[in-house]
Amino acid sequence: MSIATIFEIVLAAVVLGLGIWTIVVRETYSATVGFVAYGLLVALIWVRLDAIDVALTEAAIGGGLGGVLLLGAAAQLRDSEPAVTDAAGNAVRVCAAILSALTAATLAGAVLVLPDPAPTLAPAAVSNAWATSLANPVTNVLMAFRAMDTMLEKVVLLLAIIGVWSLAPDSAWGGHPGPRHQADPHGVLVFLARLLPPIGIVVGIYVLWTGANHPGGAFQGGAILAAMWLLAIMAGLADTPPVSSRRLRLILVAGPGLFLVVGIAGLLFGSAFLSYPPAQAKPLILAIEVAMILTIAATLGLLLAGAPERRTGQ
């Protein structure tokens, strides 16, 4: 048995153990910490499986933004937690266990009956890469071959932010999401919030740019930019924009909007909705991705900031 195999076995065992603990542990806060660590380790597994694009997304969402989102929920639930944990009776527990076991068995069965070799479109995606002159097959699939899915996904992000905003009380509508953070201007948090964002913005743009030929892309880059923005907000260096701001709303619709415009242009001048002429495919895709990184960064940041809570000046 080679060292690499032992490494894989240890990694899988650690991730499984951590996953089980995260489910079993009673305190929400501890479970959240476990979940963030789990996200970090799953990113390692994706790298080991040569799925770097997925690893980047997992590191950005599972290890970073998703963890922070759960954390906010855990902090808010802290007071009401005991009442919730007492509720489940034995019958409910047994039913939940049976349901979980059935789901797991179905999934295991589905994996076992997969044909070997598994059906794949990977060779087709690689052999048609000339049409976009991008070398990263994942970006090709996301931005060209299955561009419709990606566009609709951005619309879903937009719907999510509308859902979060609709939780705002009437008095705060149009105001700023989240509390106004205060921090010691000479403290370590403010220092870090000044030091890290310039580096993070460069890394975010780099991840977007390198996505054309290497793993990366607008979503991962946007998640990094959102984290840097939230860092400045948490340190009190910046405030969340009021949700009634016209500029903010323009940024929120820029990505899906440009995607739609390009798609309809493809319908009018080309062969189909979202068909790019091969000569202009790369500039078009890059333009859409630049608009999308802004939309994604703003959307993810606002999703984490939460519903509007206070009017301007409060």
């Binding site: 060292i3 040569d50 970073g64 991962q220």
Partner: protein
Amino acid sequence: MTEFLTAAVGFILAMLALGLVSILRGPGDADRMMAMQLIGTGGIATLLLLGTVASLPAAIDVALTLALLATFASIAFVKKGLSSLDADGTAPTEPK
């Protein structure tokens, strides 16, 4: 050289597992948070080594992302944990 680097990955992974024990034991939120930081750092080291061993230069990009986002997550932990503790009026659980 590859064997040595792989062995180094294994060693760091063992350290990660130790960090996990600390997450499991706690007892306070702050202890768990510090252990999460250790796992984040160890994960970055593993990624850099793994990228070299398997000649995957893109693993360095994942390590960069992880470095930025893990820092961000820990700050959010401190911020959110503290604000909820202030609201409760209870003393924060400081590591002794």
